[in-house]
């Protein structure tokens, strides 16, 4: 399993992270690895807001965040880094302000654009791990292509209505997104039914997957897709196989 570099903690950081450093197998060493780590989150909406907030709370060293546009009323049921006061102002400003209120030690790289073919390469280069929270398959496939090329882990998560899916892609070891979807789905609609508690649930899981992979403990969802439905609280883990002829990861 990959492990990040370590950066020693200050006394103040030891005080802030004391309770999570009590977690067996994590400890101060795990905290030092998180401090030395950077995570790219694309985008920072219903799902990505919660991923970013949990990683900021946990003491990640740096977040690279890509999200375009201004705050709209319909963001506010789930995009928890946006505020009512910020309606009509750039989302990325609200995101940065809220994260620094929680963790002023956090290093932030705020990009007021969405990720696409043009900037995927450089954004992925700026991070040790990626969390894919994009609402469009075009963005998800652009990220998948880059993380396979740069051999960086990616937590892949998505939701619809009360249903969620999450898996962790470790290039070279596990299937990639194109192994799951050999062709880009065409039918997905940009607007979809969603409660904030649903996107938040899978956002918390994605943050925990990132923490586990970066600090090198626990058992991430490698080669397994967790699917669950909060309507009846049914959870299942499905085995995903790597495609021999995958157009992305078989040539990497």
């Amino acid at each position: 399993m990959m492990q990040s570099e370590r950066r020693s903690l200050t006394d103040h950081e030891r005080a802030v992270y004391e309770w999570q450093m009590w977690v067996p197998d994590f400890g101060e060493e795990g905290q030092e690895r998180l401090k030395a780590s950077s995570v790219l989150i694309s985008r920072v909406g219903g799902l990505g807001s919660v991923v970013a907030y949990e990683l900021a709370a946990a003491g990640i060293g740096k977040l690279v965040l890509a999200h375009a546009g201004d705050i709209k009323p319909s963001d506010l049921n789930r995009q928890l880094l946006m505020t009512h006061e910020g309606l009509g102002t750039p989302r990325i400003e609200s995101i940065g302000r809220r994260l620094l209120e929680l963790n002023p030690r956090l290093e932030l790289e705020l990009i007021p654009e969405n990720l696409g073919e043009a900037n995927a390469r450089s954004l992925v280069e700026h991070a040790d791990l990626v969390v894919d929270c994009a609402p469009l398959f075009e963005e998800r496939f652009a990220l998948n292509h880059e993380i396979v090329r740069q051999a960086k882990p990616m937590v892949e998560c998505a939701m619809y209505e009360l249903q969620c899916q999450i898996t962790t892609i470790l290039p070279g070891e596990t299937p990639c997104l194109a192994c799951i979807y050999p062709e880009m789905p065409a039918a997905w609609k940009r607007e979809f039914p969603v409660f904030g508690a649903v996107s938040g649930s899978v956002g918390c899981m994605a943050a925990m997957e990132a923490i586990k992979v970066l600090s090198g403990f626990g058992d991430p969802l490698a080669g397994r897709l967790l699917t669950y439905d909060l309507r009846d609280l049914s959870f299942r883990k499905l085995e995903v196989r790597r495609r021999e002829d995958c157009r992305v990861c078989s040539q990497a």
Binding site: L47, C133, Q165, T227
Partner: protein, 92 residues
Amino acid sequence: MQVTIELMAQLRTALGQPARTLELDEGATLRQALQELIAAHDSEEVNGLLAADGGLSPTIIASLHGRILDPSEDPVLSHGDTLSLFSPIAGG
């Protein structure tokens, strides 16, 4: 024999029900089950389950016995099987 088709995401919304039980001939395969489903529900989402070559659409996740199937597979189903079909989701 009876086989249950479990529907997820937009497929569930399109059919308006979380699952449907099909009565199939002994030895029926995945593709035959999907053809039955398409015959019973004429909608864009359901018709899209099968690709032009007659196989499972490569943009649908189908799982049987805890494993995601490759679109090239056409397993024989057994009485009591549950086949789960997930239409693609990318909600962020």
